[in-house]
């Protein structure tokens, strides 16, 4: 289970880094396969949020003032900075959780039909 989760996080990290806005969705599909026996939604969402957090930390390491930037972006949409940060993590989490749940649901259904 833990190995699968670590794999899901790594998948998310690589996918978000190199596939951009499609990354979380693609990695979510694969997470669904890994967790087809159960827990796919949680694993997908958590791994995507965790990978996004790591990528943000990497950005901060490069010198980005994350909270200031979040506040700046938020002001353009009349939102507080924390809402921008939450949205940054929530969007890939919802994408990945959704697709992981979809895949695991489909695969589990097939397994039940065979038995």
């Amino acid at each position: 289970m833990w190995m699968n989760f670590i794999s899901a996080v790594l998948l998310q990290f690589v996918a978000q880094r190199f596939l951009g806005v499609w990354g979380a969705a693609v990695a979510g599909l694969l997470t669904g396969v890994l967790f087809r026996q159960g827990g796919a939604i949680r694993a997908g969402a958590l791994s995507a949020a965790l990978a996004a957090t790591v990528l943000l930390v990497v950005a901060a390491e490069r010198g980005a003032a994350l909270t200031e930037l979040a506040a700046m972006i938020g002001r353009n949409f009349s939102l507080p900075g924390w809402a921008v940060l939450v949205a940054t993590l929530a969007l890939p989490a919802l994408q990945a959780g959704g697709f992981a749940g979809l895949v695991s649901g489909v695969l589990r259904k097939e397994r039940v039909a065979i038995s």
């Binding site: 978000q16 880094r17 190199f18 951009g20 806005v21 499609w22 990354g23 979380a24 969705a25 979510g28 939604i41 996004a52 990528l55 943000l56 990497v58 950005a59 490069r62 010198g63 980005a64 003032a65 994350l66 930037l69 506040a71 700046m72 972006i73 938020g74 002001r75 353009n76 949409f77 921008v84 949205a87 940054t88 969007l91 890939p92 919802l94 994408q95 990945a96 959780g97 959704g98 697709f99 992981a100 749940g101 979809l102 649901g105 489909v106 589990r108 259904k109 039940v112």
Partner: protein, 845 residues
């Protein structure tokens, strides 16, 4: 519900969430932009954060003749060391795009009239104005005339090479944040786009349909009053061409009272406004949609430049200063650079992103700056056409003449969809548009120029101040500028340079003429010898601040200066320079932000005196008493901590509103004409003039004191409502009138924080924001002409256009405090010390 059904439902919900959020992330939904592109930690806005100027970098521009070394100093100014002129321009294009890629595009699109394709339908009115003025057609024709094989054409192509090389080096995650917010892709840069930027400068600086304002005035108050009030000659003469006088020449003639409307003018205005009810209160010309009196007055803050001869400077060297006043934006309109091409030229200063060159700056021998001449270079003609519904020809000397061109302008949205279509007809003069029941054609020097860049490149090689200005005079046409220069030999010189049309008969551009007579066309241009100018004058200094360039007593040639350019700053800089016979570099710096105001010195006593007279006559208003006390105690200095300027500004605005009530039409309830403030000086000396009477009060005839006191009381009450009781919360200038440069897209999050500053309307540092506009000193420069120029300078903002960059606003505080930074001028890469080197960029083929 069975287990299987439950799983199906769960899977369906998961699919909906996954697909839905991915759709919103990739495509967006309704008003939401694609959120994934914005929020992705890898490619979204976060990717723009961090150090955007790495210590070392290498990149390729395939068209380079040889490698180019670029050193960024600690002020983030790129020093370009190239071996050919073309390579220098390629590198300039590259470094400009590196810091200002989005600005390049939005500025060129503003001149092209295609903003809608970048930002959407909201920009349609601006694009319509641009295209109806004929600007994109003009740019295309200019580029066709320049051609790719001329020296100017080659430099424009080289600049484009640099911009495009940088653009090609970017991944989508590296695109400027604005592209991500707008969900757009940076477009390829073409030489034509530089011409659009040049045209846009003409639009900003030389767009003055003064005859339409005069027409409006005549329609409301008759010829005599309108002509006197809108007279192009200022009642106070402190011209650019030096008169070597000890004081300004003041000629406060009487202004006729408002009279009966001029019926011909009234009919014409009604005809122009027919079927355009929304335009009442604005310019009668609907294709100039941006003409808003509030913004126009703020725009008129314009610029200063002055130079001091060795005879008048403390160290015996020529000194030069310049501060162009433009809209304060982030990123700044300026980008600071220094370019060295050994054996060819070396220049530094500020470039305009999109234009190869340095409009304000210095070489090893010459320094230069510019202010806007504001000449009348835009005229209008009434036309008769063959078919009102679908014209194909216009009348000219009794013959129906085919249009020179008929152009269909198609406006497209962000998705390429057509959102509007215009047909623009062109007579031999220029674009023609239907205005109400009239057809008006226009001629504008900005549409016909095109050799300006050639002028700059010739001037960059000049080694003396006169040679620089002679090069500009040979090629430079529009927008007309008061170019000032100083050289290392101590010569100072100024010349109001540009193409000034000579009109038929009266020679004035103050009337809408009949287009069906060729005799009403422009008949030539003024020769350079008639340009207002001065060279190392006896008075030991030269100064321009957008005032009337030449005293009509000296030469009555019609330049038609913009009436919105007030005389106040010119009076102040002349006052300061006359009072100082040993000017130092620091004096020059301090003049930039000098808080003194001739305007306040002349108008405050009148307001206070009127209030006191009314109080003595029995007026018991507590507001008036408090206002008079507050204003009388003000030292008339626009320091950031003064508490009187806000009251004065509001009182002057109220005075103008009460004084010119005749220009408020019943239909619009907006003032359609606002004469120059200097006319107030004439009216103040004529206390019973009919202009003082408020025609809205039929039972009483007001005089000067009544109106001034009423304005002051009203101003006080307004400010109490807005800012509170001044006894408890003083109306501190820095709090109520701060500077606040706005982002190019007006995005609040990317604007600069409000910053208290010294200066206000009519002072040398006019950086005052209103709710509608924020104009001010966009660049300040002081140059000491030693054996080589020593330069100090600053502008509000920073070199980077990336809001997440530490270089986005790093100069702002220094600018607000009136300080200048020391500009580096290394002759070679090795002359820039390592400790002063922030980054190195190597450009190779």
């Amino acid at each position: 519900m069975s287990m299987t059904t439950g799983r199906l439902v769960t899977a369906a919900l998961c699919a909906a969430v996954g697909i839905g959020t991915t759709y919103v992330g990739v495509v967006g939904a309704g008003p939401l932009p694609p959120l994934g592109g914005l929020l992705s930690p890898a490619v979204g806005l976060w990717a723009n954060a961090g150090n955007d100027l790495p210590a070392t970098a290498t990149s390729s521009i395939p068209q380079l003749d040889a490698a180019v070394d670029v050193r960024y100093d600690s002020r983030s100014v790129p020093h370009i060391f190239a071996t050919t002129d073309a390579d220098a321009m390629r590198a300039l294009g590259y470094v400009t795009a590196r810091d200002r890629l989005f600005q390049l595009e939005i500025q060129s699109r503003a001149g092209e009239g295609t903003l809608t394709e970048l930002v959407g339908d909201v920009a349609l009115p601006a694009d319509q104005e641009t295209r109806r003025l004929g600007m994109p057609r003009s740019a295309e024709r200019k580029w066709r005339d320049i051609g790719a094989t001329t020296p100017s054409g080659k430099l424009l192509l080289a600049y484009a090479d640099g911009v495009n090389a940088y653009r090609a080096s970017l991944s989508p995650g590296q695109w400027p944040v604005e592209y991500k917010l707008l969900d757009r892709t940076p477009r390829e840069w073409l030489p034509l786009h530089s011409v659009h930027v040049l045209n846009r400068m003409g639009y900003t600086l030389a767009r003055g349909p003064g005859e339409l304002e005069l027409l409006e005035a005549r329609a409301l108050v008759g010829d005599a009053a309108a002509n006197a009030l809108m007279e192009e000659n200022s009642p106070v003469q402190e011209p650019i061409q030096p008169m070597n006088r000890n004081a300004a020449r003041v000629a406060l003639s009487s202004i006729p009272a408002p009279g009966a409307p001029d019926s011909l003018a009234a009919r014409m205005v009604a005809s122009l406004r027919a079927n355009t009810p929304d335009m009442s209160g604005m310019s009668p010309l609907s294709w100039l949609k941006d003409i808003d009196p509030t913004v126009e007055q703020a725009r008129a803050f314009a610029s200063n430049n002055w130079a001091v001869a060795p005879s008048r400077s403390a160290n015996g060297r020529a000194l030069l200063a310049g501060d162009p006043h433009l809209e304060l934006t982030l990123p700044s309109i300026w980008y600071e650079v220094h370019i060295v091409v050994p054996g060819s030229f070396e220049i530094g200063g500020v470039s305009i992103p999109g234009l190869p060159g340095v409009p304000i700056g210095y070489s090893r021998a010459v320094a230069w700056s510019a202010t806007n001449t504001g000449a009348d270079v835009m005229d209008f003609w009434r036309e008769k056409v063959d078919n009102d519904a679908a014209p194909t020809a216009y009348a000219l000397d009794g013959v129906m003449t085919k249009f020179t061109d008929t152009r269909i302008e198609t406006y497209r949205g962000k998705g390429g969809n057509v959102i509007d279509v215009d047909t623009i007809y062109y007579t031999h003069r220029g674009p023609m548009q239907r205005q109400g029941r009239e057809w008006l054609s226009m001629r504008w020097t900005v549409l016909e120029s095109g050799t300006e860049l050639q002028g700059y490149f010739a001037a960059f090689h000049a080694t003396t101040a006169p040679a620089f200005l002679d090069s500009m005079a040979k090629y430079y046409q529009a927008p007309a500028q008061n170019f000032i220069t100083a050289d290392t030999s101590g010569t100072i010189m100024i010349r109001s340079t540009g193409r000034y049309p000579v009109r038929a008969d009266s020679g004035r551009g103050t009337e809408v003429r009949d287009g069906w007579l060729r005799a009403n066309d422009w008949i030539g241009d003024w020769p350079v010898s008639r340009y207002p100018q001065g060279r190392s004058p006896v008075q030991g200094y030269l100064a321009s601040a957008n005032q009337q360039p030449i005293d009509p007593q000296q030469d009555a040639l019609y330049l038609g200066p913009d009436p919105n350019f007030e005389i106040w700053r010119a009076l102040q800089i002349n006052r300061l320079l006359r009072a100082d016979s040993t000017v130092t570099v620091d004096d020059m710096r301090s003049f930039h932000t000098n808080p003194g105001s001739v305007r306040a010195d002349l108008l405050v006593p009148a307001l206070v005196s009127a209030a006191q007279a009314r109080l003595a006559a029995g007026d018991t208003s507590a507001s008036l008493g408090a206002a008079a006390t507050l204003l009388a105690s003000w030292n008339r200095q626009y320091t950031r901590d003064n508490t009187g300027a806000r009251l004065f500004e509001t009182a002057v605005a109220q005075t103008t509103a009460l004084l010119y009530d005749e220009f408020i039409t019943d239909e619009s309830r907006m003032r359609s004409v606002t004469p120059s403030e200097s006319r107030l000086l004439q009216l103040l000396g004529d206390s019973a003039n009919g202009w003082w009477d408020d025609r809205r009060t039929s039972d009483v005839r007001e005089d000067r004191n009544v109106i001034l006191a009423k304005a002051l009381r009203s101003a006080y009450d307004t400010l109490v409502t807005e800012y509170g009781d001044p006894a408890r919360t003083p109306w501190t200038w820095g709090r109520v009138a701060p500077a606040r440069p706005n982002h190019l897209l007006r995005l609040a999050g990317f604007a600069a924080p409000e910053m208290p500053i010294d200066g206000g309307r009519g002072t040398l540092n006019p950086s005052v924001g209103s709710k509608r506009a924020n104009f001010g000193a966009s660049w300040r420069m002081v140059v000491e002409m030693d054996k080589e120029p020593r330069i100090r300078a600053v502008y509000p903002g920073g070199q980077s256009g990336n809001p997440a960059s530490t270089r986005y606003l790093d100069r702002y505080a220094m600018w607000a405090n009136g300080q200048l930074d020391s500009v580096r001028t290394p002759r070679s890469a090795k002359d820039l010390p390592a400790a002063d080197t922030r980054a190195v960029l190597t450009l190779t083929r």
